[in-house]
Symmetry: C2
Subunit: 285 residues, 2 copies
């Protein structure tokens, strides 16, 4: 469903310069797990919301995630040539176009959100809450803040708390947003939104630690990128601080904690989200 909707995210009727459109679509359609849009849809589903109405928000979060990867890969940032086994955006379209494509994807995300109201009748009040939360979780207080802290900290992170700050904002914030946005679409109560946040913070951290573990013991073919890159870049990670075994235990503990948060909330059929938590813990790429 997400792939089919992403293909149509930039309608042919829109007057967009050809190379800009190609550059945006290149990264948007470059694969990936589509984890964040799936979390939007799953959160809407477990609360009895409409998947169709949640789709514009699902697309929005994938656009934000994609823009962040395009800008992250730039020479001035991580300077990566490959992502998911394909050339990065700036290697294909040049740096200037990659910067503009990222800017356009971020802007387009906010357009997409508004369509949950205009196209699917979700009350304007709720859609405005989603807009506000995306701006918080993806901005200076959220994801971009996490990236800045990561960059600034590359010189030397010495405490696990500093690493936790970076993980929370670089990774968990968009995951928490996705879950809450799905909740808003379904008209979630405050208590349900809190449970979704708690679930998201726990699986977000578990997701990041699992990433760090896979970078050490994963299979390059399955990952689509070279392993041991953190070690080469002298990146400080959870396994670096507490070892692989304790990191694996932490992933398990966080997954249990996430599930418990969900089970405490008044959600009739939380199965889909519980399955996703297990899938993330067990993934090998």
């Amino acid at each position: 469903m997400v792939e089919a909707a992403l293909i149509q995210a930039l309608p042919a009727a829109w007057d967009v310069p050809g190379s800009l459109r190609e550059s945006m679509n290149y990264s948007l359609m470059a694969g990936g797990k589509r984890l964040r849009p799936i979390l939007v849809l799953a959160a809407a589903e477990v609360l009895g919301g409409s998947l169709e109405a949640a789709m514009p928000v699902a697309l929005a979060i994938e656009m934000v995630h994609t823009y962040s990867l395009v800008h992250d890969d730039l020479p001035a940032m991580d300077n990566d040539d490959y992502r998911r086994g394909k050339l990065t955006n700036h290697k294909v379209y040049g740096e200037a176009m990659a910067i503009l494509a990222g800017d356009a994807l971020l802007t387009q995300a906010f357009f997409s959100i508004t369509q949950a109201h205009k196209g699917h009748g979700i009350p304007a009040e709720r859609v405005l809450s989603i807009t506000e939360e995306l701006a918080i979780y993806a901005g200076a207080r959220g994801m971009v803040g996490g990236q800045a802290a990561d960059m600034l900290g590359e010189q030397g992170i010495t405490k696990l708390e500093e690493l936790a700050f970076i993980h929370t904002h670089k990774t968990s914030d968009l995951i928490v947003f996705s879950l809450r946005a799905g909740g808003h679409i379904a008209g979630a109560t405050s208590a349900q939104l809190r449970a979704l946040s708690e679930f998201g913070n726990a699986i977000g951290l578990a997701f990041q630690i699992q990433d760090d573990i896979l970078d050490i013991i994963g299979d390059e073919k399955k990952l689509g990128k070279p392993v041991k890159s953190d070690e080469k870049q002298q990146k400080v990670t959870y396994p670096f601080f507490i070892g692989i075994e304790a990191s694996e235990q932490k992933v398990k503990d966080l997954t249990i904690q996430a599930k418990e948060a969900l089970l405490r909330a008044q959600i009739a059929h939380p199965e889909r989200l519980l399955q996703l938590a297990d899938y993330l813990m067990q993934r090998d790429h």
Copy 2:
């Protein structure tokens, strides 16, 4: 009013990495005419709207304008070292931080818009229309599309229509958005919004042509940047196509056209906007 509000745009209480906050504030507070926020406030005012309620949207458009300058100045784009007589963002904070500061300012703009509802009681429906329009006018179909077309066209623009496309999207779109957004805040009718769009398109093009004229015959000290940069970069401009005299006449014609559009609409006191149109035509920097 705008300067005072901009200083408080990133509250001290927000947990934002220090250098990111500094980098954002550096460009946000680097001066400039504040034309776009003033247009938001003036459009709200002539239609009897509240300036306080319009301010979050005024700040939003200045954030979008600022982010576009920060990214435009990057080495991969225009590679400018100075803007308004000051070092550009990446010359002070480095390229990576300039990219992130731009991303954060764009994201923060959408947060700011939502506060017109949350903080000032403008109906959610109207604020959502402003959100949607910002995403259209600032995105791939708007400003970013204009920048991409400008970049792609640098190899050789041969028609005035190609130049008009670039001017419309690079410059007029944000001006049209500013006026319409002020209109939405004040509860403008469809006819009034159309008049504001027409006014904005005309003064936007006049503004750009005046910029091109000043680049040829202006005073470096007043402009805060070197003149004849378009000629040096072999940039195609209106004066290049039709000469300075015809360009000056075009600015006058567009200003009259802008005022007439406004006078045809049912607006009781359009004075403030009419004054702004004259100011823009007569400016020397």
